[in-house]
């Protein structure tokens, strides 16, 4: 049973609790009878007029009794009992064809007992305001640490069950730290607690955890699911949005322990507060986190209505614990919420200054100056500094050898100038251009320049044919020329304006006999260029390697570049010989194709090309005579022609660009609420269809919960009620639901399941609380404390109930497998996000930076591309951003992070926990880079210790690190034997070891490079330990 999701486990159990076949306890209408009526009868005899049969209502006292189906005191005489027990096909209830199961024996017994006992009617429990009942008396008073325990113990004693013993200190430490902060405790806090044997050691620990900034992140992580927060819109376009400052607001609010009523009011109506601050307006982003739709053909007016309804449904789930969405199309089948009331609620959200659009057009926005621009600027600034220092180093180097270099140039100047003067370059007059890819089109310009006016395939070869007015060929010159249509006005339509010329092939086309054309290959033996990027020297364009080539990346891509390719000996050309030149672009850099060019031919094999240098040399030939300015020009030439320097200058230019871009981003647009000046009219929407307007309605709240008039006065006197009024009504002390629903969610955070096990539904179809008096006591305590969140959490965490060991006993397993009676502490698998954060902490990788934009940690390749065909590429982060808390992981609504299994989908609000157990989870935790790198870093940090460690010590240290406890002898034996065995294996297979150690970006420690087998074996063992059930669970 226990592998099922919680939702299911609770369903099965609830049937028992509802039936309450235990004759010793009294039958209570709200707890025992109403759920049966709701389940079996309300579909046709409930609040919804539309589906009501026989004009019979069983949800209202007067109707039920007036209809005469209940004979108080005499079950057997009651029509209700007769019908549910009838065998007659036409009389039997629920009707056999309804799909509803007949009443069980115990349900029937309950109904009968209730009628026989006097048929006392009650309102559904959650619609009655919570009251603090008198604490029940208990025997084991010593066990009780706070009132929570009294309620729990009373029930246990009533059933004759003993609470479990307290968990040991290490277990408790790990449990409290993970549940309160989402992370294992830091060493200092942990050591203080473990060393402290005083009575208040544990309370101090809890205080410390609640005071840590990680607490706010843990609470925010839960709130993100509730708020359906996402970094993208959802639906077809799924465009990015930048609502992350709101996430920071939530973290800050929790860490500042903002009272829950304020927390609520600001998120509903921060913009309506007098003199609202940016932060208060920012809070309202809560109600803009819904999906937005910009699909082509979609009517924005329809989308806008969807957004409004999403808000109402979210309010229902998060604050009221009601499935309001059921009343969208018809009056609620079970709860006393009419369809009209649903649309009265929607009226609060119907006049937002929005238009149903999405993407960058999803107004209204708050343009928020970034609180800390450094957050964006620090990294680009550091990058600039790094690039500057790299550049300076190379330039200094070039400067220091400048004199020698200049001497050398001058010495060779005669030869050089001679070969320039006699080069005799003549144009290669291209008459035919061909490419395999037909999208490529050429355009001939004056001076034999050719321009690729259309087409930029990833790879392309230009085959160019034409005549040369020379009697011999000795050199071929290729000039790559800039064009304004090229990237950065550079030399190609690639990402940078750079090209890679991977091959130059030259053939002579000679007419042979029978007018056949013979192709005579011309062998190019050497090459020269006026500039080349390191690793892409011009020789690579004539080497046998097809995918290496000449490239020219530098900081000024607008400069033309020239290469000269030489033959060993000149070849004579006949009059009608033609030349074929192929420019091959075959690099793995896409679209790095020369976009504009000119080709010339010289009969000499030593032909040189005129350059800045030859021009300088031509004018001056005695270094002694050089003026300072001339020397500077020479130096400038030297620096600019050095590819290493050009490349570094390019990097520096890029870094500067990034900095500028970051600077322009020192404000960010967040979707928020803002009211229209003129209110929109609101209507009941027939069948929930967006444009099927029914009766006009005005903002108001459902009467069954608490009439508005009771809290806010008469509508006519105060004008239309606003979101602010709604927010105040929600956190009004007289609202019976908000406090209960909220403390129940807190309980769920700490126990894995709520006191009400349907946290999204406190209505008639929801479950009855396992401890109703405790829930009410906590709810009232919450409000009495001024909605003090930390206060309630501390009460829960410091209760004896929470501190119990989470071991099952055979008998508990039988009586209470789902721990509804709380006779043991919580044990449940952590959410995937917490598993990851835990792994990052124990491996020492976690970044503790708080807040800021979302980040993109490791993700297998093509996860996004497989869904959006590459529309938005996923660029894996570098450095610190790989190791931020999972809360900050970029959430793409359509393609949620694949390793975050069982996470809420963030499409609509979710408060129920998913906790399933699938082989996909196993594969993720065993094979995801995140966990393998974490395993290596756990191993590495242990092996780096000063002393020589025996395998057993290593294993023990791993247990300490990962689980915060020592390994027992059994574990030590098992895993140290494994460690030694694997070490032998990997020693025999060093390549495998190398591969394992390469996983993840963090470096292998220098000191361990000589012991790859040991480190690898330890990594594998650590990976096993990271996958232990104990590691994956809070226990």
């Amino acid at each position: 049973m226990c592998s099922l999701a919680l939702a299911q486990d609770s369903t099965q159990e609830s049937a028992e609790s509802r039936g309450n076949g235990d004759d010793s306890t009294e039958v209570r209408f709200a707890r025992d009878v109403l759920p049966i009526l709701s389940n079996k009868c309300f579909l046709c005899h409930g609040p919804d007029e539309g589906s009501r049969q026989a004009d019979l209502r069983l949800d209202l006292k007067d109707h039920a009794f007036d209809a005469g189906v209940i004979d108080t005191g005499d079950a057997e005489a009651s029509e209700l009992v007769r019908r549910v027990t009838s065998d007659d096909e036409f009389e039997s209830m629920p009707p056999p064809d309804s799909g509803i199961q007949p009443l069980t024996k115990s349900e029937l017994r309950t109904i009968k007992r209730w009628i026989n006992d006097g048929a006392e009617w009650e309102t559904h429990w959650s619609f009655e305001p919570p009251k603090k009942s008198i604490l029940p008396s208990v025997k084991q008073k010593k066990w009780v640490k706070n009132p929570i325990d009294t309620f729990v113990l009373a029930q246990l004693e009533n059933k004759g069950i003993r609470p479990s013993p307290a968990a040991d200190k290490e277990t408790l430490l790990r449990r409290a730290a993970l549940l309160i902060t989402g992370l294992p405790a830091n060493t200092e806090l942990a050591q203080t607690f473990l060393d402290d044997s005083s009575d208040d050691a544990y309370e101090n620990l809890v205080d410390g955890l609640l005071a840590s900034s990680a607490y706010g992140e843990r609470m925010a992580a839960v709130w993100m699911d509730v708020a359906r927060y996402s970094d993208s819109d959802g639906f077809q376009q799924d465009e990015p949005r930048t609502n992350w400052p709101w996430r920071d607001w939530v973290i800050t609010a929790y860490n500042a322990n903002k009272p829950f009523d304020e927390f609520t009011i600001e998120q509903f109506a921060g913009d309506l507060l007098p003199d609202a601050t940016d932060q208060q307006i920012l809070a309202t982003c809560f109600h803009r986190n819904h999906m937005t739709n910009s699909e082509g053909g979609r009517d924005p007016a329809e989308s806008r209505v969807d957004y409004v309804m999403d808000r109402v449904n979210t309010v229902g789930t998060v604050w009221l614990g009601l499935t309001l969405g059921c009343a969208q199309c018809h009056t609620h089948k079970y709860d006393p919420i009419t369809q009209k009331e649903y649309y009265q609620l929607s009226a609060y959200f119907n006049s937002i200054d929005e238009n149903g659009r999405a993407g960058k057009a999803a107004k209204p926005y708050l343009k928020l100056p970034l609180a800390d621009p450094e957050l964006h600027l620090a990294q680009p600034r550091a990058q600039i500094a790094k690039r500057e220092s790299e550049l300076k180093k190379i330039e200094d180097d070039a400067r220091s050898t400048f004199d020698d270099w200049l001497e050398e140039q001058v010495k060779n100047s005669d030869t050089l100038l001679n070969s320039v003067a006699n080069a005799d370059w003549k144009p290669f007059a291209i008459s035919d251009t061909r490419t395999k890819d037909k999208s490529v089109k050429f355009n001939s310009e004056k001076d034999n320049v050719w321009f690729v006016k259309k087409g930029s395939p990833d790879n392309v070869t230009y085959t160019l044919t034409g005549a040369v007015n020379h009697s011999a060929i000795g050199s071929v010159r290729v000039e790559a020329l800039p064009h304004k249509s090229h990237t950065s006005g550079g030399l190609a339509r690639s990402n940078s304006g750079n090209f890679v010329l991977t091959d130059v092939v030259v053939n002579i086309l000679r007419s042979g006999k029978d007018s056949e054309t013979k192709r005579v290959p011309v062998k190019l033996v050497s090459a020269w260029s006026d500039y080349e990027q390191p690793g892409h020297s011009v020789e690579r364009a004539i080497d046998p390697n097809l995918d290496t080539g000449w490239a020219v990346l530098n900081d000024d891509m607008k400069k033309p570049r020239t290469a000269v390719f030489q033959l060993a000996e000149p070849i004579e050309l006949a009059d009608d010989d033609k030349l074929e030149v192929q420019l091959v672009h075959f690099s793995h850099h896409p679209k790095h194709n020369i976009g504009r060019f000119r080709i010339s031919v010289s009969p000499r094999v030593d032909a040189a090309h005129e350059t800045e240098l030859t021009r300088l040399l031509k004018s001056k030939n005695d270094t002694k005579e050089y003026s300072n300015s001339t020397r500077t020009r020479f130096l400038d030439y030297r620096l600019a022609s050095d590819g290493r320097i050009g490349l570094k200058r390019h990097f520096l230019a890029q870094a500067n660009k990034k900095y500028k871009a970051a600077e322009s981003k020192n404000s960010v647009s967040v979707m928020v609420l803002k009211e229209l000046k003129k209110q929109r009219k609101s209507f009941v929407l027939e069948r929930g269809v967006w444009d099927a307007h029914g009766e006009e309605v005005f903002s108001s709240t459902p009467t069954a919960i608490k009439p508005f008039a009771e809290t806010n006065g008469d509508e006519k006197a105060t004008g239309p009620q606003t979101r602010m009024d709604l927010a105040k009504w929600i956190v009004d002390r007289r609202n019976p639901l908000t406090a209960r629903v909220t403390v129940n969610r807190y309980w769920q955070m700490y126990f894995g399941a709520g006191l009400v096990r349907t946290p999204e539904d406190f209505g008639l179809q929801g479950e009855y609380p396992t401890h109703p008096e405790l829930l009410d006591w906590l709810a009232v305590e919450f409000m009495d404390s001024g909605w003090d969140v930390k206060h309630v959490l501390k009460l829960i965490a410091t209760s004896a109930t929470f501190q119990q060991s989470s071991r099952y006993t055979e008998s508990l397993l039988k009586i209470d497998p789902a721990n509804r009676m709380l006779a043991r502490g919580p044990r449940f698998r952590m959410p995937a996000a917490m598993i990851r954060d835990n792994a990052l902490v124990v491996s020492g990788l976690l970044s503790r930076r708080i807040g800021g934009p979302s980040v993109k940690p490791y993700q297998p390749e093509n996860v996004w591309a497989a869904s959006d065909q590459g529309k938005y590429p996923y660029h894996v982060a570098k450095g610190e951003d790989l190791y931020r808390r999972s809360l900050y992981t970029y959430w793409r609504r359509n393609i949620s992070p694949p390793a975050m299994f069982d996470a809420a989908q963030r499409r609509v609000c979710e408060v129920q926990v998913r906790r399933t157990n699938s082989p996909m989870h196993a594969l993720t935790l065993l094979n995801d880079t995140t966990y393998l790198e974490a395993a290596r870093m756990v191993a590495q940090s242990i092996l780096l210790s000063d002393e020589e460690l025996a395998p057993g010590n290593i294993v023990n240290a791993m247990y300490q690190k990962v689980l915060g406890r020592s390994a027992n002898q059994f574990e030590v034996d098992q895993m140290s034997r494994r460690l030694s065995g694997l070490e032998k294996d990997y020693a025999a297979n060093p390549d495998a070891a190398k591969q394992v150690l390469q996983i993840g970006d963090s470096a292998v420690a220098e000191e361990l490079r000589e012991q790859p087998a040991l480190l690898t074996a330890a990594t594998i063992v650590a990976s096993t330990i990271l996958n232990l059930d104990e590691t994956l669970n809070v226990e």
Binding site: S3, L4, P817, L926, I1020
Partner: protein
């Protein structure tokens, strides 16, 4: 391996337990009984502890044991493919009569523009013994006319792709409900211990502007997430995180799993948490998938004849044709629900060529799958469903005054009627069902609402759609909401 993962086997493995070690276990409280109990857990899989038969499934004798849903995303045109309308020629080039349109909304793309009637671009002809008519673009599907039932009277409620597809596959237009495949697997479980029961294949179309395929189309909503469709990817790892990292061999991984089994069992004996046993079992299943999935994905055992049957693209991984072969491999291995997506049917322009090409790429592989299942004797208990989220409108989408002159003419969305076809699995072959008016605009006979189709698919699998429910948010949810009628007339 089930239940008898023997000690001998365990000891054979490098570095594993020797006899002395086994004896030592006793000292740590892990005796033979515990060992055998831990090894038994291999049985748990996707349908681990909730054995379908124990929960009353199937509700009645099923006709089909498994389903392949060939999902044509973007809306194929019933007008060109399945729903012949010879009379409409008389209205060509004339505005659609209001008496037909009856206020039907169109998408914002053609709103406010005249709705000019454009008859089918294709010619229709009768095929098979049954004489069912098909448009000329799908000769192979026409070739299996006697095996299929064409439903011409499908109708839906949504005019945009995502809501309509979500509706078709989950019974509700808002994402978040369990998908059809999820419901089926939740009800019936998987027949294969080593593979998921619900597998999704997405075909490459090469069109980056294509309708996206959201993972909620095969999601589980509120059902336990292990019932989610597992997407087999056509490049890289077929299943995310499937492969061991380089440097970790299968035998090393086996050792890790042995350790996990032993240590987790220790934990279980101490804590008695049944979830630990499930975890051990799921880790073992993951290990088995590491061989069963690549074995599945390795098509080297397929014959030349098969590739010929499925057509020229069938050797290209990720193509629809390739995916159709993969679908058959999955069905052969007992996978309960296979969903193959083919996108790029949404031709607001390019009806004449792009729609034709798309029909072509769907035609031969879809028909081949039916033939292939038939020759393997699997068609009788395998239900094949072919269809999209809605249809296309009779009016031309064009900037020209006369659509006949527009080589790029398109058709807008049309939710009021569309066609799907089904084969095998208890469906009457060689038949058509339902009818539309002369404009293929409104259903005139035997409407089949999306919920009816869903109810019928479940019915063929032996599931009563009214009884197949899941309690969530206080309500018993089902695939067909509170609607749906089984279309009994198409069942053999």
């Amino acid at each position: 391996m089930k239940n008898n993962y023997s000690r001998q086997k365990a000891t054979q493995m490098h570095n594993n337990l020797d006899r002395r070690q086994l004896l030592k276990w006793g000292g740590y409280g892990l005796g033979g009984i515990a060992l055998s109990s831990l090894l038994k857990n291999d049985a748990a899989a996707w349908d681990s502890n909730d054995e379908p038969s124990l929960r009353g499934f199937p509700h009645f004798a099923p006709k089909a044991k498994r389903v392949v849903f060939l999902t044509q995303s973007g809306a194929p045109s019933q007008i060109e493919l399945f729903d012949p309308k010879p009379n409409v020629v008389r209205h060509a080039g004339i505005e659609l009569p209001d008496s037909v349109r009856m206020g039907q909304a169109v998408s914002t793309m053609t709103r406010g523009k005249p709705q000019i009637v454009m008859p089918s671009i294709t010619k229709f002809a009768k095929h098979g013994k049954c004489g069912t008519e098909f448009g000329e673009w799908i000769p192979h599907i026409a070739g299996i006319a006697d095996d299929i039932c064409v439903v011409r009277s499908m109708t839906t409620e949504f005019i945009n792709h995502a809501p309509a597809m979500t509706f078709l596959l989950s019974g509700n237009q808002i994402p978040g409900r369990p998908s059809l495949g999820g419901w089926v697997q939740y009800g019936l479980g998987s027949e294969n211990r080593n593979l998921p029961g619900f597998v999704v294949l997405v075909s490459k179309t090469g069109n980056t502007g294509d309708q996206p395929l959201y993972d909620h189309y095969w999601g589980t909503g509120f059902l336990p997430s292990r019932h989610q469709g597992v997407r087999l990817r056509s490049s890289g790892e077929p299943v995310l995180f499937l492969n061991n990292p380089s440097g970790v061999s299968r035998s090393t991984r086996r050792l890790m799993l042995d350790d996990l089994k032993i240590l987790n069992t220790e934990k279980h004996d101490e804590y008695l948490d049944p979830e630990i046993k499930t975890r051990i079992a799921q880790y073992e299943l993951g290990f088995r998938m590491q061989t069963s999935v690549p074995e599945l994905a390795d098509m080297s055992d397929e014959t030349e004849e098969t590739y010929e049957l499925y057509g020229p693209e069938s050797q290209t991984p990720g193509s629809y044709a390739h995916n159709c072969i993969m679908a058959r491999r999955l069905l052969q291995r007992g996978v309960r629900f296979v969903q193959v997506f083919l996108g790029d049917w949404d031709h607001h322009n390019g009806m004449r060529n792009r729609h034709r090409d798309r029909a072509r790429s769907s035609d031969q592989p879809s028909a081949a799958l039916v033939k292939d299942l038939k020759r393997m004797g699997m068609l009788d208990d395998t239900l094949v469903v072919w269809g999209g989220e809605f249809g296309r409108g009779i009016a031309a989408q064009t900037k020209e005054t006369d659509p006949a002159n527009d080589p790029k003419v398109g058709r807008d969305h049309h939710p009021r009627c569309f066609s799907v076809w089904m084969a095998g699995g208890g469906v009457k072959g060689g038949t058509t069902y339902g009818a539309t008016d002369d404009f293929s605009f409104n259903v005139t006979e035997n409407p089949v609402h999306v919920h009816d189709l869903q109810a019928t698919i479940l019915h063929l699998l032996g599931i009563d759609h009214k009884r197949h429910t899941f309690r969530f948010m206080g309500r018993d949810f089902r695939l067909t909401d509170v609607h749906g009628h089984v279309v009994k007339d198409i069942i053999a």
